[in-house]
Symmetry: C2
Subunit: 343 residues, 2 copies
DNA sequence: TTCTCTACTGTGAACGCTCACAGAAGCATG
DNA sequence: CATGCTTCTGTGAGCGTTCACAGTAGAGAA
């Protein structure tokens, strides 16, 4: 392994150097670099050898300049970041996307658009073509950035179904409703009949769908849907605590709670324990997400696993397809019940 | 606000378009773009107006091609990612760096080098000049990537003092030793005398320094340093549980534990509670990091705050300085004791 | 033979920018 | 009037790549 550029920063080899070394022209080297069609086996081999010998790496700037592509994608957060960064799911998603993209040799640019100023700057950056597409993580409706990007024709894939955008935007989401149904059925199967629910924010599809699943199952079982059993939260731990308190006063006889996120469920557990209710003996608690928070809780949470690894993989797949010219697509992935100590 | 490129994807305006619109030459526009030296006020104004009117955004690829800079930096994780992604500190650091860079209009590329393969690919990518510098997050010693990057002359700033690399590499770190000293002194001030410690991994500077602080204070107070009081962990929650179990068998009379990370402290709390010890009445527990895990724990953790916002800001500052040609530098930032329920 | 088709190769001409340089204009100095 | 200096401006070249096009050579068909 002889490296020609030992120490210091030498001018890196260009496609010319490779061509000279291999005894072919730039064109041929370029063809090898881009799939190797219309290249003779001999030339192919010579070029590859020359690349190894010179330590050549393509200059992406030069390539991007002429192709118009940037061969990079943005990972865009348009909300106050605390929300996401304290959410363990977010981590998993970010990692999954980075890895899925790495497999295609595409770097991920992390973009935070918390303030109005940042939003403007980033919108400019993106619409200027500095990324080929955007993975959008934003749950709330009426996101102006998403709207603008869509109108500018930037390939876009959202995580979770975006509300308020036309149907022409791709998204990948877990089957929230079905997951909620599984959890509520699970609680029923344990003999629980007074099942409270702490919903997510109801201006997000996840919040709405999980509540809908809860109501559906109760209705199917012929159980009444008591308004006192329904309180809403915002996915944060604090709102879980507050929600549980409201539940305990409105419906002190509850024997189970379905909580629309693990983080909120942590809060629910804390409140229940403070109130002297044992989990799961007195009150069973079911979470949602199967985030690291689920095993960090005590007792460990029974929860609904969102297939984050598949979600990120699909987001990348759909985005790349769209960059490649395909039409937008929606992908819904199944969830899974994970039983632990809290039920 | 009239946008010339409404809908669809039109060819974006170039520096030529701006020059024509402003009635000047490319050179003048370029000068305005790069600080505006040697440009008359009249030309300055005309160019700015033309930029606004055309909606011009500089093509970074073209610029990078000639300048050799990429105007982007990498955020590199060289360890098995689970470790970091489950660590709430990591989030804060990543966000801080992204924002600090955004202020300079520099995008952050997230790079995960978990496997050997990825390591190779990413090293190539970086040494090919696709980023101007690297923010390195890797605690363990003997990291081959860091070594290679250093040798290739890539500007580099580590988070936490890297072991094993020459002293010529920049880093930014919290004052681990001093933080540990604060915590142990705090526990002593509460009247505790049998203070156990769960250390971090001892091949990391943080692990070593925090233990050193613990020992120093005990020595200063004339207290014996009992080997039974010292167990080591790896910063994970599970290792906190295991560590607490060992402590309870080796030294059942402990009345306090200093735990080198909040995540481990969560595990310690769980084990103590299972063993019937009340926190803080029977055993006081002090964590380290002041991560979100600290308030997620019950009781909420007394801990040592690492100034992550300042750490990220300093990392970016030092990296940019180094990219600008300055010499490497080390920055140590003070920590702060945060009192909560567990002591 | 001659023509066509396929597989392969080399060569300018971009892509949009910055940089070095040349030059102009204004003003003071010799 | 020449000379120098400073401030400002325009121009050509070139960064490293891909793309379109023009070839070449060999095989098969007419």
């Amino acid at each position: 392994m002889t490296m020609s550029h030992t120490g210091g920063r030498r001018r890196p080899p260009t496609i010319h150097d490779v061509a000279r070394e291999a005894g072919v022209s730039r064109g041929t080297v370029s063809r090898v670099l881009n799939g190797g069609h219309y290249v003779s086996p001999a030339a192919q081999e010579a070029v590859n050898a020359a690349i190894r010998k010179t330590g050549y790496v393509v200059n992406r700037h030069a390539r991007s300049l002429i192709t118009g592509r940037s061969d990079s994608v943005g990972f865009l957060l348009t909300e106050p970041q605390e929300r996401f960064f304290e959410d363990p799911n977010f981590n998993v998603l970010l990692r999954g996307c980075t890895q899925a993209l790495a497999a295609h040799d595409i770097p991920l640019l992390l973009m935070l658009a918390g303030t109005e100023d940042e939003r403007r700057r980033i919108t400019r950056y993106i619409t200027a073509g500095h990324v080929d597409g955007v993975l959008l993580v934003s749950s709330h409706s009426g996101d102006p950035v998403a709207q603008e990007l869509r109108e500018a024709g930037v390939p876009l894939v959202a995580c979770g179904k975006p509300i308020g955008l036309g149907s022409k935007v791709s998204y990948v989401a877990a089957d929230d409703r079905d997951g909620a149904r599984d959890m509520v059925r699970h609680l029923l199967s344990l003999g629980r009949r007074r099942i409270g629910v702490v919903t997510g924010p109801l201006d997000t599809p996840g919040g709405v769908e999980r509540l809908a699943g809860y109501k559906e199952v109760l209705a199917e079982e012929g159980l009444p849907i008591d308004d006192d059993l329904v309180v809403s939260g915002d996915y944060s731990r604090a709102s879980g605590e507050a929600g549980a308190e409201r539940l305990l006063t409105q419906a002190p006889d509850i024997d189970a709670v379905f909580v629309a996120s693990d983080l909120m469920a942590q809060g629910v557990l804390a409140t229940l324990q403070r109130a002297g209710r044992r989990v799961p003996q007195d009150v069973a608690v079911g979470g949602f997400d199967d985030s690291p928070a689920a095993v960090a809780a005590s007792p460990e949470l029974t929860t609904i696993r969102q297939p984050w690894d598949r979600i990120s993989a699909e987001m990348v797949r759909v985005l790349l397809a769209q960059i490649g010219g395909e039409d937008p697509a929606a992908v819904i992935l199944p969830t899974e019940l994970v039983k632990r100590e809290s039920t």
